[in-house]
Symmetry: C2
Subunit: 185 residues, 2 copies
DNA sequence: CCATACCCTTACGCAAGGGTGAGAGTTCAA
DNA sequence: TTGAACTCTCACCCTTGCGTAAGGGTATGG
């Protein structure tokens, strides 16, 4: 005899229903409430949280923001400022400011990630050249590898591997140095 | 009469020296040791950590990686695998794999951040149109704003603000609907 | 020999976003 | 009326990269 979504004939959702409909856990929804992001529309006589169906959209919106790297606290702060402002244009201005700040942050993040991308690509290119190094045997040989890898310099990401746990070079460059001297001779 | 860097005439650095030279804190260096990223070359008779000067490079490398979004644990894992591998090409292959994984992750991050960038730009464009909305008075008016903002649809980031704490629309759209009907009349 | 700067270990705290109980009460259908 | 499924409120656990003591020992110049 299910009339409502959860078969209780109510227009309201219980946390479990809200959780299922949004793909979040009950705990997560409780957390959103603790943080002031979402409140139940009312409570049942027994104390159960009862949510307005539109709460689904709210939860999805929260999820969207956090998925995009905006923290729950940030989201709450901006919601609070929005709610407590009674002057429309003023609130809109605050929102604009927030978005602008976030935009700068985001662009900075993109820059850094692209830098990492370049480093990784360079590192991979370098490692590709190791493949044609033949069969150097042990990692020690790689560590002391003095071959020209066709890449100008050892990429910073790769260079860090060349040391022991105490930061020193694995050995004080034993015989292989002579090999190089032979070569450059 | 200082002979060494720290005036103790030793070839070694103490943790404070290493910290100063790398711009990290002593605590951070201790942490790197706890995580197995870096060990002192030896200890003084009194128990002070003594580092090889090359440890500076190691710390800078760790800093580079973490600054680029690679966690200390990840760094340690890859270092461990590198160290325990005794076959060069094999270790290089693992490294390539790691870099490839990281590269995919990074590109995914860039995609998401760019998505956020677009959302923010759209949101800002939308909010700009609010500026010419005149003086709507309270936020309630903005919430019920039915004006065509020139942007196709309300950006998702902005839409989330249109609700009360329980997720419902601020009011069940009271008189303003009629106003709109007047308009579109 | 002493002052001062430095270092040791141990261990708790923060922020973020929940996970995972425990122990008790509520709803709902059979 | 009962049993299953659900929910309630604490409240502590986890990760990551350190910060910040607390309580004590070490190194070194004067």
């Amino acid at each position: 005899m299910a009339l409502g979504i959860n078969g209780n004939g109510s227009q309201y959702l219980r946390v479990g229903d809200l959780a299922r409909l949004t793909g979040k856990t009950v705990r997560a929804i409780h957390l959103y409430e603790e943080l002031g992001l979402l409140e139940p529309a009312t409570r049942s006589s027994g104390g159960f949280r009862l949510y307005h169906p539109a709460a689904v959209d709210r939860v999805r919106w929260i999820d969207l923001l956090s998925g995009l790297g905006i923290s729950l606290h940030e989201t709450r702060d901006v919601l609070d400022r929005w709610w407590k402002s009674d002057h429309g244009p003023e609130a809109m201005a605050e929102l604009r400011e927030l978005f602008n700040t976030k935009l700068e942050e985001t662009r900075e993040n993109i820059r850094r990630q692209q830098e990492l991308e370049r480093e990784l690509v360079d590192g991979l290119a370098y490692l590709e050249t190791c493949r044609v190094c033949g069969e150097p045997g042990t990692v020690d040989c790689c560590v002391h590898c003095t071959q020209d890898h066709g890449v100008g310099r050892e990429p910073a990401l790769v260079a860090g591997f060349k040391g022991t746990r105490d930061g020193a070079r694995r050995t004080p460059r034993p015989a292989l140095v002579h090999v190089e001297e032979h070569r450059s001779d």
